[in-house]
Protein backbone atom coordinates (compact mmCIF):
# COMPACT_ATOMS: atom_id res chain seq x y z
CA UNK A 1 0.00 0.00 0.00
CA UNK A 2 2.92 2.40 0.37
CA UNK A 3 3.93 4.48 -2.58
CA UNK A 4 7.09 4.00 -4.61
CA UNK A 5 9.31 6.28 -6.65
CA UNK A 6 9.98 4.52 -9.90
CA UNK A 7 11.27 4.90 -13.45
CA UNK A 8 8.14 4.24 -15.47
CA UNK A 9 8.26 3.30 -19.13
CA UNK A 10 6.04 5.48 -21.27
CA UNK A 11 3.74 3.27 -23.32
CA UNK A 12 1.51 5.82 -24.99
CA UNK A 13 0.58 9.45 -25.41
CA UNK A 14 -2.57 10.53 -27.20
CA UNK A 15 -4.41 13.78 -27.54
CA UNK A 16 -8.01 13.67 -26.26
CA UNK A 17 -9.01 17.32 -26.75
CA UNK A 18 -7.55 20.53 -28.11
CA UNK A 19 -5.32 20.84 -25.06
CA UNK A 20 -5.66 17.59 -23.11
CA UNK A 21 -3.38 14.58 -23.44
CA UNK A 22 -3.63 11.07 -22.04
CA UNK A 23 -0.27 9.63 -21.04
CA UNK A 24 0.17 5.97 -20.22
CA UNK A 25 3.12 4.42 -18.44
CA UNK A 26 4.08 1.04 -17.04
CA UNK A 27 4.40 1.06 -13.25
CA UNK A 28 3.23 -2.28 -11.84
CA UNK A 29 3.46 -1.34 -8.19
CA UNK A 30 1.58 1.92 -8.64
CA UNK A 31 -1.06 0.27 -10.81
CA UNK A 32 -1.61 -2.46 -8.23
CA UNK A 33 -1.88 -0.12 -5.26
CA UNK A 34 -3.80 2.78 -6.83
CA UNK A 35 -7.27 3.78 -5.66
CA UNK A 36 -9.56 6.24 -7.45
CA UNK A 37 -8.78 9.80 -6.38
CA UNK A 38 -5.11 9.17 -5.68
CA UNK A 39 -2.40 10.92 -7.59
CA UNK A 40 1.16 10.51 -8.79
CA UNK A 41 3.98 13.02 -8.63
CA UNK A 42 5.86 13.29 -11.91
CA UNK A 43 9.28 14.77 -12.60
CA UNK A 44 8.89 16.67 -15.86
CA UNK A 45 12.47 17.81 -16.46
CA UNK A 46 15.92 16.46 -15.66
CA UNK A 47 17.01 20.10 -15.16
CA UNK A 48 15.77 22.66 -12.66
CA UNK A 49 13.22 24.70 -14.57
CA UNK A 50 10.57 23.54 -13.85
CA UNK A 51 12.07 22.46 -10.54
CA UNK A 52 9.31 20.67 -8.70
CA UNK A 53 7.32 17.61 -9.65
CA UNK A 54 3.79 17.97 -10.89
CA UNK A 55 0.84 16.10 -9.41
CA UNK A 56 -1.58 14.19 -11.66
CA UNK A 57 -4.63 12.23 -10.68
CA UNK A 58 -4.46 8.60 -11.70
CA UNK A 59 -7.13 8.67 -14.36
CA UNK A 60 -7.17 4.97 -15.03
CA UNK A 61 -5.36 1.70 -14.49
CA UNK A 62 -4.93 -0.99 -17.13
CA UNK A 63 -3.16 -4.06 -15.75
CA UNK A 64 0.35 -2.92 -14.94
CA UNK A 65 -0.16 0.44 -16.60
CA UNK A 66 -1.49 3.75 -15.33
CA UNK A 67 -2.92 6.62 -17.32
CA UNK A 68 -2.95 10.31 -16.46
CA UNK A 69 -4.80 13.12 -18.23
CA UNK A 70 -3.21 16.51 -18.40
CA UNK A 71 -4.03 19.89 -19.90
CA UNK A 72 -1.14 21.73 -21.51
CA UNK A 73 -1.00 25.01 -19.61
CA UNK A 74 2.60 25.66 -18.65
CA UNK A 75 6.15 24.46 -18.35
CA UNK A 76 5.69 20.98 -16.95
CA UNK A 77 2.82 20.02 -19.20
CA UNK A 78 4.47 21.35 -22.34
CA UNK A 79 7.37 19.02 -21.56
CA UNK A 80 5.04 16.08 -20.87
CA UNK A 81 3.34 16.68 -24.21
CA UNK A 82 6.71 15.98 -25.88
CA UNK A 83 7.34 12.69 -24.14
CA UNK A 84 7.70 9.66 -26.45
CA UNK A 85 6.89 6.00 -26.16
CA UNK A 86 9.94 4.30 -24.77
CA UNK A 87 11.05 7.24 -22.65
CA UNK A 88 11.20 6.76 -18.93
CA UNK A 89 9.47 9.09 -16.54
CA UNK A 90 10.20 9.40 -12.82
CA UNK A 91 6.87 8.81 -11.08
CA UNK A 92 6.12 8.69 -7.35
CA UNK A 93 2.84 7.20 -6.21
CA UNK A 94 0.15 6.33 -5.54
CA UNK A 95 -0.24 9.26 -3.17
CA UNK A 96 -2.94 10.78 -1.03
CA UNK A 97 -6.32 9.87 0.33
CA UNK A 98 -8.60 8.35 -2.33
CA UNK A 99 -12.31 9.05 -2.82
CA UNK A 100 -14.43 7.33 -0.18
CA UNK A 101 -16.35 5.21 -2.68
CA UNK A 102 -16.85 1.93 -0.91
CA UNK A 103 -19.76 3.15 1.16
CA UNK A 104 -23.34 1.94 0.65
CA UNK A 105 -24.83 4.61 -1.58
CA UNK A 106 -26.61 3.77 -4.81
CA UNK A 107 -26.24 6.77 -7.10
CA UNK A 108 -23.07 8.72 -7.68
CA UNK A 109 -22.89 12.04 -9.49
CA UNK A 110 -19.47 12.93 -10.81
CA UNK A 111 -18.97 16.65 -11.31
CA UNK A 112 -15.93 17.53 -13.41
CA UNK A 113 -14.76 21.01 -14.39
CA UNK A 114 -12.15 21.27 -17.13
CA UNK A 115 -9.17 19.03 -16.49
CA UNK A 116 -10.96 18.06 -13.25
CA UNK A 117 -12.25 15.16 -15.30
CA UNK A 118 -8.89 13.47 -14.69
CA UNK A 119 -9.69 11.23 -11.68
CA UNK A 120 -13.10 10.17 -12.96
CA UNK A 121 -12.50 7.44 -15.55
CA UNK A 122 -10.92 5.36 -12.77
CA UNK A 123 -13.65 6.18 -10.23
CA UNK A 124 -16.32 5.61 -12.85
CA UNK A 125 -15.27 2.05 -13.62
CA UNK A 126 -14.75 1.28 -9.94
CA UNK A 127 -18.29 2.43 -9.14
CA UNK A 128 -19.75 0.49 -12.08
CA UNK A 129 -17.92 -2.61 -10.82
CA UNK A 130 -19.68 -2.07 -7.51
CA UNK A 131 -23.01 -2.05 -9.35
CA UNK A 132 -23.71 1.58 -8.69
CA UNK A 133 -25.49 4.09 -10.88
CA UNK A 134 -23.13 6.79 -12.07
CA UNK A 135 -24.08 10.14 -13.60
CA UNK A 136 -21.05 11.94 -15.05
CA UNK A 137 -21.48 15.70 -15.51
CA UNK A 138 -18.68 17.38 -17.37
CA UNK A 139 -18.05 21.09 -17.79
CA UNK A 140 -15.63 22.85 -20.10
CA UNK A 141 -15.10 26.32 -21.52
CA UNK A 142 -16.07 25.15 -24.96
CA UNK A 143 -16.70 22.03 -26.97
CA UNK A 144 -13.15 21.68 -28.31
CA UNK A 145 -11.77 21.51 -24.77
CA UNK A 146 -13.84 18.48 -23.75
CA UNK A 147 -11.73 15.34 -23.32
CA UNK A 148 -13.15 12.70 -25.68
CA UNK A 149 -13.34 8.99 -25.14
CA UNK A 150 -12.37 8.98 -21.51
CA UNK A 151 -15.77 8.58 -19.87
CA UNK A 152 -19.06 7.28 -21.31
CA UNK A 153 -22.56 8.60 -20.91
CA UNK A 154 -21.50 12.03 -19.76
CA UNK A 155 -23.72 15.11 -19.95
CA UNK A 156 -21.99 18.32 -20.84
CA UNK A 157 -22.06 21.98 -19.93
CA UNK A 158 -20.01 24.57 -21.76
CA UNK A 159 -19.44 28.19 -20.82
CA UNK A 160 -20.12 29.28 -24.39
CA UNK A 161 -22.95 26.84 -25.06
CA UNK A 162 -21.04 25.16 -27.89
CA UNK A 163 -22.01 21.75 -26.50
CA UNK A 164 -24.64 20.55 -24.03
CA UNK A 165 -26.04 22.88 -21.44
CA UNK A 166 -25.04 26.56 -21.71
CA UNK A 167 -23.50 27.38 -18.34
CA UNK A 168 -21.25 25.95 -15.70
CA UNK A 169 -21.17 22.35 -14.61
CA UNK A 170 -22.59 23.47 -11.25
CA UNK A 171 -25.60 24.87 -13.12
CA UNK A 172 -25.88 21.53 -14.89
CA UNK A 173 -25.66 19.76 -11.54
CA UNK A 174 -28.44 21.85 -10.04
CA UNK A 175 -30.56 21.39 -13.11
CA UNK A 176 -30.01 17.64 -12.92
CA UNK A 177 -31.09 17.58 -9.29
CA UNK A 178 -34.20 19.64 -10.00
CA UNK A 179 -35.34 17.42 -12.88
CA UNK A 180 -34.66 14.03 -11.33
CA UNK A 181 -36.28 12.17 -8.46
CA UNK A 182 -34.89 13.20 -5.09
CA UNK A 183 -32.83 10.14 -4.09
CA UNK A 184 -29.91 11.38 -2.09
CA UNK A 185 -26.92 10.83 -4.32
CA UNK A 186 -23.25 10.83 -3.41
CA UNK A 187 -21.37 13.59 -5.21
CA UNK A 188 -17.74 13.44 -6.27
CA UNK A 189 -16.23 16.60 -7.70
CA UNK A 190 -12.97 17.80 -9.13
CA UNK A 191 -12.15 21.07 -10.88
CA UNK A 192 -10.93 24.59 -10.33
CA UNK A 193 -11.32 26.06 -6.84
CA UNK A 194 -14.10 28.53 -7.69
CA UNK A 195 -16.17 25.69 -9.14
CA UNK A 196 -15.56 23.53 -6.07
CA UNK A 197 -16.51 26.43 -3.84
CA UNK A 198 -19.77 26.93 -5.73
CA UNK A 199 -20.56 23.23 -5.71
CA UNK A 200 -19.76 23.02 -2.03
CA UNK A 201 -22.30 25.73 -1.25
CA UNK A 202 -24.82 23.91 -3.39
CA UNK A 203 -24.44 20.46 -1.78
CA UNK A 204 -24.01 21.68 1.80
CA UNK A 205 -27.21 23.70 1.44
CA UNK A 206 -29.02 20.55 0.33
CA UNK A 207 -27.40 18.18 2.80
CA UNK A 208 -25.98 16.03 0.01
CA UNK A 209 -22.80 14.12 0.93
CA UNK A 210 -19.97 15.18 -1.29
CA UNK A 211 -16.30 14.51 -1.76
CA UNK A 212 -14.09 17.16 -3.32
CA UNK A 213 -10.74 16.44 -4.93
CA UNK A 214 -8.65 19.53 -4.34
CA UNK A 215 -5.64 21.07 -5.99
CA UNK A 216 -3.14 23.31 -4.30
CA UNK A 217 0.40 24.41 -4.82
CA UNK A 218 2.54 21.43 -3.80
CA UNK A 219 6.25 21.06 -3.38
CA UNK A 220 6.67 17.47 -2.19
CA UNK A 221 3.42 15.51 -2.36
CA UNK A 222 4.44 13.38 0.63
CA UNK A 223 3.95 15.55 3.69
CA UNK A 224 7.45 16.91 4.25
CA UNK A 225 7.07 20.55 3.14
CA UNK A 226 3.70 21.65 4.63
CA UNK A 227 3.18 23.75 1.55
CA UNK A 228 -0.19 22.37 0.48
CA UNK A 229 -2.31 23.66 3.33
CA UNK A 230 -6.07 24.04 2.97
CA UNK A 231 -8.26 25.59 5.64
CA UNK A 232 -10.26 23.24 7.79
CA UNK A 233 -13.84 24.38 8.14
CA UNK A 234 -14.48 23.23 11.70
CA UNK A 235 -11.47 24.67 13.55
CA UNK A 236 -10.41 28.25 13.21
CA UNK A 237 -7.01 28.75 11.55
CA UNK A 238 -6.24 25.07 11.35
CA UNK A 239 -5.07 23.45 8.16
CA UNK A 240 -5.17 20.09 6.45
CA UNK A 241 -2.52 19.00 3.95
CA UNK A 242 -3.84 18.35 0.46
CA UNK A 243 -1.15 15.77 -0.25
CA UNK A 244 -1.63 13.50 2.75
CA UNK A 245 -4.99 14.43 4.32
CA UNK A 246 -6.41 14.80 0.78
CA UNK A 247 -6.58 15.42 -2.12
CA UNK A 248 -10.08 13.96 -1.58
CA UNK A 249 -11.95 15.55 1.30
CA UNK A 250 -15.45 15.46 2.66
CA UNK A 251 -16.84 18.78 1.47
CA UNK A 252 -17.86 19.63 5.03
CA UNK A 253 -14.32 19.44 6.33
CA UNK A 254 -12.41 21.98 4.29
CA UNK A 255 -12.72 25.37 2.67
CA UNK A 256 -11.35 25.53 -0.87
CA UNK A 257 -8.99 28.46 -1.42
CA UNK A 258 -10.86 31.54 -2.54
CA UNK A 259 -14.13 30.70 -0.78
CA UNK A 260 -14.75 33.59 1.57
CA UNK A 261 -15.95 33.12 5.12
CA UNK A 262 -16.57 29.38 5.26
Amino acid sequence: MTAVDTDALVTGLRQVSESIFALRFRAPHIAAAAQPGQFVNVLTSPFYDPLLRRAYSISNVYGEECEILFAVVGKGTSLLARVREGDTLRVLGPLGRPFACEEPFQTAILVAGGIGIAPFPFLFSRLLDQGKTVIPLVGARCSSLIARGVISGARYATDDGSEGCHGTVVDLFEEYLSTNEPVVPRVFACGPNPMLAALRRSVLGRGIPCELSLESEMACGIGICQGCAVKRSRERDQYALVCTDGPCFDARDIVPLGEEGG
Binding site: Y48, L51, E217, M218, I222, I224, Q226, Y239, L257
Partner: protein
Protein backbone atom coordinates in the same frame (compact mmCIF):
# COMPACT_ATOMS: atom_id res chain seq x y z
CA UNK B 1 37.36 5.77 2.79
CA UNK B 2 36.66 8.17 5.63
CA UNK B 3 33.45 10.11 5.25
CA UNK B 4 32.52 10.85 8.87
CA UNK B 5 32.97 14.02 10.86
CA UNK B 6 32.46 15.31 14.37
CA UNK B 7 31.41 18.60 15.85
CA UNK B 8 32.02 18.19 19.58
CA UNK B 9 29.89 15.27 20.71
CA UNK B 10 27.94 15.20 17.45
CA UNK B 11 29.23 12.42 15.28
CA UNK B 12 27.90 11.88 11.78
CA UNK B 13 28.74 9.03 9.46
CA UNK B 14 28.85 11.26 6.44
CA UNK B 15 28.69 14.91 5.57
CA UNK B 16 25.14 15.12 4.27
CA UNK B 17 22.25 16.15 6.53
CA UNK B 18 18.66 16.99 5.66
CA UNK B 19 17.76 20.66 6.14
CA UNK B 20 15.18 21.86 8.63
CA UNK B 21 11.64 22.15 7.29
CA UNK B 22 12.37 20.08 4.21
CA UNK B 23 12.25 16.57 5.62
CA UNK B 24 9.37 16.73 8.09
CA UNK B 25 10.24 15.17 11.43
CA UNK B 26 12.38 12.58 9.72
CA UNK B 27 10.03 9.66 9.23
CA UNK B 28 7.72 10.86 6.50
CA UNK B 29 10.26 10.19 3.77
CA UNK B 30 11.29 6.79 5.14
CA UNK B 31 9.49 4.82 2.39
CA UNK B 32 11.49 6.59 -0.32
CA UNK B 33 15.00 6.64 1.05
CA UNK B 34 17.40 5.01 3.49
CA UNK B 35 17.40 7.09 6.64
CA UNK B 36 20.34 5.20 8.10
CA UNK B 37 22.45 6.24 5.12
CA UNK B 38 22.12 9.94 6.03
CA UNK B 39 24.75 11.83 7.94
CA UNK B 40 21.94 13.23 10.03
CA UNK B 41 18.48 14.66 10.13
CA UNK B 42 17.66 18.23 11.13
CA UNK B 43 14.05 18.45 12.28
CA UNK B 44 11.49 21.04 11.27
CA UNK B 45 11.83 24.05 13.59
CA UNK B 46 10.24 23.31 16.95
CA UNK B 47 8.62 26.16 18.88
CA UNK B 48 7.31 26.44 22.41
CA UNK B 49 3.67 26.23 21.36
CA UNK B 50 2.13 24.40 18.41
CA UNK B 51 1.85 26.56 15.31
CA UNK B 52 -0.72 25.94 12.57
CA UNK B 53 1.29 27.94 10.10
CA UNK B 54 0.31 30.54 7.54
CA UNK B 55 -2.79 30.56 5.32
CA UNK B 56 -2.40 29.26 1.79
CA UNK B 57 -0.87 29.81 -0.66
CA UNK B 58 2.32 28.92 1.15
CA UNK B 59 4.56 28.09 -1.75
CA UNK B 60 5.26 29.36 -5.23
CA UNK B 61 7.67 27.87 -7.71
CA UNK B 62 10.11 30.30 -9.30
CA UNK B 63 12.89 29.82 -11.84
CA UNK B 64 15.16 27.13 -10.41
CA UNK B 65 13.75 27.61 -6.95
CA UNK B 66 10.72 28.12 -4.78
CA UNK B 67 9.32 30.59 -2.31
CA UNK B 68 7.84 29.38 0.92
CA UNK B 69 6.03 30.91 3.80
CA UNK B 70 5.04 27.89 5.81
CA UNK B 71 4.95 29.98 8.97
CA UNK B 72 6.92 27.54 11.12
CA UNK B 73 3.97 25.16 11.21
CA UNK B 74 4.93 22.59 13.84
CA UNK B 75 3.44 20.48 16.59
CA UNK B 76 5.12 22.41 19.44
CA UNK B 77 7.74 21.17 21.85
CA UNK B 78 5.44 18.99 23.98
CA UNK B 79 3.98 17.00 21.11
CA UNK B 80 7.42 16.84 19.57
CA UNK B 81 8.86 15.24 22.69
CA UNK B 82 5.89 12.93 23.07
CA UNK B 83 5.06 11.89 19.49
CA UNK B 84 7.97 12.60 17.20
CA UNK B 85 11.19 12.17 19.11
CA UNK B 86 10.55 8.55 20.15
CA UNK B 87 10.26 7.60 16.48
CA UNK B 88 13.55 9.24 15.68
CA UNK B 89 15.49 7.23 18.23
CA UNK B 90 17.16 4.28 16.69
CA UNK B 91 16.74 5.18 13.04
CA UNK B 92 20.50 4.96 12.84
CA UNK B 93 21.43 8.52 12.04
CA UNK B 94 22.24 11.66 14.00
CA UNK B 95 19.28 13.77 15.09
CA UNK B 96 19.65 17.53 15.25
CA UNK B 97 16.70 19.43 16.65
CA UNK B 98 16.09 22.85 15.14
CA UNK B 99 14.65 25.42 17.56
CA UNK B 100 12.83 28.64 16.76
CA UNK B 101 11.30 31.35 18.88
CA UNK B 102 10.20 34.95 18.81
CA UNK B 103 11.81 35.84 22.11
CA UNK B 104 14.96 34.62 23.79
CA UNK B 105 12.85 33.05 26.51
CA UNK B 106 11.03 30.92 23.96
CA UNK B 107 14.32 29.53 22.64
CA UNK B 108 15.38 28.78 26.20
CA UNK B 109 12.09 27.08 27.07
CA UNK B 110 12.25 24.74 24.08
CA UNK B 111 15.87 23.85 24.68
CA UNK B 112 15.39 23.25 28.39
CA UNK B 113 12.31 21.13 27.80
CA UNK B 114 14.30 18.85 25.48
CA UNK B 115 17.81 18.98 26.93
CA UNK B 116 17.41 15.80 28.92
CA UNK B 117 15.41 13.83 26.40
CA UNK B 118 17.16 10.84 24.88
CA UNK B 119 18.10 10.79 21.25
CA UNK B 120 19.06 14.35 20.48
CA UNK B 121 22.60 14.78 19.20
CA UNK B 122 22.78 18.53 18.69
CA UNK B 123 20.80 21.75 18.38
CA UNK B 124 20.41 23.96 15.40
CA UNK B 125 19.15 27.42 16.34
CA UNK B 126 17.03 29.13 13.69
CA UNK B 127 17.59 32.85 14.25
CA UNK B 128 15.68 33.91 11.15
CA UNK B 129 12.55 34.51 13.20
CA UNK B 130 11.30 37.98 13.91
CA UNK B 131 12.38 39.28 17.24
CA UNK B 132 9.20 40.62 18.78
CA UNK B 133 11.16 43.00 21.02
CA UNK B 134 12.99 44.46 18.05
CA UNK B 135 9.78 44.97 16.16
CA UNK B 136 10.04 42.17 13.65
CA UNK B 137 13.67 42.43 12.61
CA UNK B 138 15.13 38.94 12.65
CA UNK B 139 17.44 37.88 15.47
CA UNK B 140 19.81 36.89 12.72
CA UNK B 141 19.87 40.32 11.11
CA UNK B 142 22.18 41.91 13.67
CA UNK B 143 25.37 40.91 15.40
CA UNK B 144 24.01 41.90 18.80
CA UNK B 145 20.79 39.89 18.70
CA UNK B 146 22.47 36.85 17.15
CA UNK B 147 25.04 36.97 19.92
CA UNK B 148 22.35 37.38 22.56
CA UNK B 149 20.52 34.21 21.51
CA UNK B 150 23.76 32.24 21.49
CA UNK B 151 24.83 33.61 24.85
CA UNK B 152 21.49 32.71 26.41
CA UNK B 153 21.55 29.12 25.20
CA UNK B 154 25.22 28.24 25.55
CA UNK B 155 25.30 27.66 29.34
CA UNK B 156 22.06 25.68 29.24
CA UNK B 157 23.24 22.76 27.15
CA UNK B 158 26.17 20.38 26.89
CA UNK B 159 25.21 19.43 23.36
CA UNK B 160 26.75 21.07 20.30
CA UNK B 161 25.07 24.34 19.40
CA UNK B 162 24.81 25.12 15.69
CA UNK B 163 23.53 28.61 14.92
CA UNK B 164 21.72 28.86 11.59
CA UNK B 165 22.32 32.16 9.87
CA UNK B 166 20.21 34.21 7.52
CA UNK B 167 21.82 35.40 4.27
CA UNK B 168 19.74 38.59 4.20
CA UNK B 169 22.47 40.74 5.70
CA UNK B 170 25.33 42.89 4.48
CA UNK B 171 28.09 40.90 6.15
CA UNK B 172 27.18 37.44 7.34
CA UNK B 173 30.72 36.69 8.48
CA UNK B 174 30.44 39.38 11.14
CA UNK B 175 27.36 37.73 12.57
CA UNK B 176 28.98 34.29 12.41
CA UNK B 177 31.96 35.63 14.30
CA UNK B 178 29.71 37.07 17.00
CA UNK B 179 28.06 33.66 17.46
CA UNK B 180 31.44 31.93 17.55
CA UNK B 181 32.61 34.37 20.21
CA UNK B 182 29.61 33.43 22.34
CA UNK B 183 30.49 29.76 22.17
CA UNK B 184 28.55 28.42 19.19
CA UNK B 185 30.10 25.12 18.10
CA UNK B 186 29.25 25.67 14.46
CA UNK B 187 27.19 27.84 12.16
CA UNK B 188 25.00 26.67 9.32
CA UNK B 189 23.94 28.75 6.33
CA UNK B 190 22.10 29.81 4.31
CA UNK B 191 18.54 30.00 5.44
CA UNK B 192 16.22 31.30 2.69
CA UNK B 193 16.63 34.62 0.86
CA UNK B 194 13.72 37.03 1.20
CA UNK B 195 11.81 37.01 -2.07
CA UNK B 196 8.39 37.47 -3.58
CA UNK B 197 6.28 36.70 -6.64
CA UNK B 198 3.10 38.21 -8.01
CA UNK B 199 0.19 36.77 -9.94
CA UNK B 200 -0.30 39.43 -12.61
CA UNK B 201 -3.88 38.39 -13.40
CA UNK B 202 -5.20 38.72 -9.86
CA UNK B 203 -2.59 41.37 -8.95
CA UNK B 204 -2.03 39.52 -5.72
CA UNK B 205 1.17 38.22 -4.17
CA UNK B 206 1.57 34.50 -4.84
CA UNK B 207 2.14 33.93 -1.11
CA UNK B 208 -0.38 34.84 1.56
CA UNK B 209 2.38 36.58 3.51
CA UNK B 210 3.44 38.71 0.49
CA UNK B 211 7.13 37.90 0.90
CA UNK B 212 8.62 34.51 1.66
CA UNK B 213 11.86 32.58 1.59
CA UNK B 214 13.63 31.64 -1.62
CA UNK B 215 15.45 28.29 -1.78
CA UNK B 216 16.62 25.74 -4.32
CA UNK B 217 19.28 25.61 -7.06
CA UNK B 218 18.66 29.27 -7.95
CA UNK B 219 20.26 30.37 -4.65
CA UNK B 220 23.29 28.09 -4.75
CA UNK B 221 25.72 30.75 -6.04
CA UNK B 222 24.69 33.11 -3.22
CA UNK B 223 24.97 30.34 -0.64
CA UNK B 224 28.45 29.38 -1.82
CA UNK B 225 29.65 32.97 -1.60
CA UNK B 226 28.22 33.36 1.92
CA UNK B 227 29.76 30.08 3.08
CA UNK B 228 33.10 31.06 1.57
CA UNK B 229 32.96 34.44 3.29
CA UNK B 230 32.05 32.84 6.62
CA UNK B 231 34.51 29.96 6.51
CA UNK B 232 37.37 32.39 6.02
CA UNK B 233 36.22 34.50 8.96
CA UNK B 234 35.58 31.97 11.72
CA UNK B 235 37.48 28.98 13.05
CA UNK B 236 34.42 26.91 14.02
CA UNK B 237 32.93 24.51 11.48
CA UNK B 238 30.54 25.86 8.88
CA UNK B 239 27.68 23.77 7.50
CA UNK B 240 26.77 24.71 3.94
CA UNK B 241 23.15 24.86 2.78
CA UNK B 242 21.50 26.16 -0.37
CA UNK B 243 20.44 24.62 -3.63
CA UNK B 244 22.26 21.32 -3.37
CA UNK B 245 20.92 18.67 -5.74
CA UNK B 246 23.97 16.64 -6.72
CA UNK B 247 27.15 15.38 -5.11
CA UNK B 248 29.08 17.91 -7.20
CA UNK B 249 27.03 20.72 -5.66
CA UNK B 250 27.89 19.42 -2.19
CA UNK B 251 31.58 19.21 -3.07
CA UNK B 252 31.52 22.83 -4.18
CA UNK B 253 30.43 23.70 -0.63
CA UNK B 254 33.19 21.59 0.91
CA UNK B 255 35.82 23.18 -1.32
CA UNK B 256 34.81 26.69 -0.23
CA UNK B 257 35.13 25.64 3.39
CA UNK B 258 32.03 23.78 4.58
CA UNK B 259 32.61 20.86 6.93
CA UNK B 260 29.27 19.33 5.99
CA UNK B 261 26.17 20.21 3.99
CA UNK B 262 22.41 20.09 4.25
CA UNK B 263 20.00 19.21 1.47
CA UNK B 264 16.73 21.15 1.51
CA UNK B 265 14.37 21.87 -1.38
CA UNK B 266 15.78 19.03 -3.49
CA UNK B 267 14.21 16.51 -1.14
CA UNK B 268 10.84 17.73 -2.42
CA UNK B 269 11.88 16.83 -5.92
CA UNK B 270 13.25 13.50 -4.83
CA UNK B 271 13.20 12.39 -1.20
CA UNK B 272 16.26 10.20 -1.82
CA UNK B 273 18.42 13.19 -2.82
CA UNK B 274 20.41 13.52 0.41
CA UNK B 275 21.38 9.85 0.34
CA UNK B 276 22.33 9.96 -3.31
CA UNK B 277 24.41 13.07 -2.66
CA UNK B 278 26.27 11.20 0.10
CA UNK B 279 26.86 8.22 -2.20
CA UNK B 280 27.95 10.41 -5.07
CA UNK B 281 30.46 12.21 -2.88
CA UNK B 282 32.03 8.90 -1.92
CA UNK B 283 32.24 7.87 -5.54
CA UNK B 284 33.84 11.17 -6.49
CA UNK B 285 36.44 10.77 -3.75
CA UNK B 286 37.22 7.25 -4.86
CA UNK B 287 37.67 8.44 -8.45
CA UNK B 288 39.90 11.29 -7.38
CA UNK B 289 41.94 9.25 -4.92
CA UNK B 290 40.70 11.21 -1.92
CA UNK B 291 40.99 9.01 1.18
CA UNK B 292 39.31 11.21 3.72
CA UNK B 293 36.61 13.56 2.52
CA UNK B 294 38.08 16.08 4.95
CA UNK B 295 40.81 16.68 2.38
CA UNK B 296 38.25 18.55 0.29
CA UNK B 297 37.20 20.96 3.03
CA UNK B 298 38.52 24.39 2.14
CA UNK B 299 40.66 22.93 -0.66
CA UNK B 300 39.65 25.62 -3.16
CA UNK B 301 42.60 26.67 -5.33
CA UNK B 302 42.70 30.41 -5.66
CA UNK B 303 45.53 31.98 -7.65
CA UNK B 304 46.43 35.55 -7.88
CA UNK B 305 45.10 36.30 -11.33
CA UNK B 306 45.60 40.01 -11.19
CA UNK B 307 41.86 40.53 -10.98
CA UNK B 308 40.56 43.35 -8.86
CA UNK B 309 38.41 41.61 -6.27
CA UNK B 310 35.18 43.33 -5.46
CA UNK B 311 34.73 44.78 -8.90
CA UNK B 312 31.84 42.59 -9.69
CA UNK B 313 30.26 44.19 -12.72
Amino acid sequence: MKTDFRIGSLSCKNRVLTASGTFGYGLEAAPYTTLAALGGIVTKSVTKFPRAGNPPPRIAETTGGMLNSIGLANVGVEAFARDKLPLLRGIGTAVIVNIAGSSIDEYIDVLERLEHEQGIDAWEINISCPNVREGGLHFGAKRETAAAVTRALRPRTRKPLIVKLTPNVTQVAEIAAACADEGADAVSLINTLVGMAVDVRTRRPRLSTVTGGLSGPAVKPVALAKVYETARAVSIPVIGIGGIVTAMDAIEFLLVGATAVQVGTSSFRDPDTAVSVARGMEEFCREQGVEDIKELVGALRVDDTGAVPGFIA
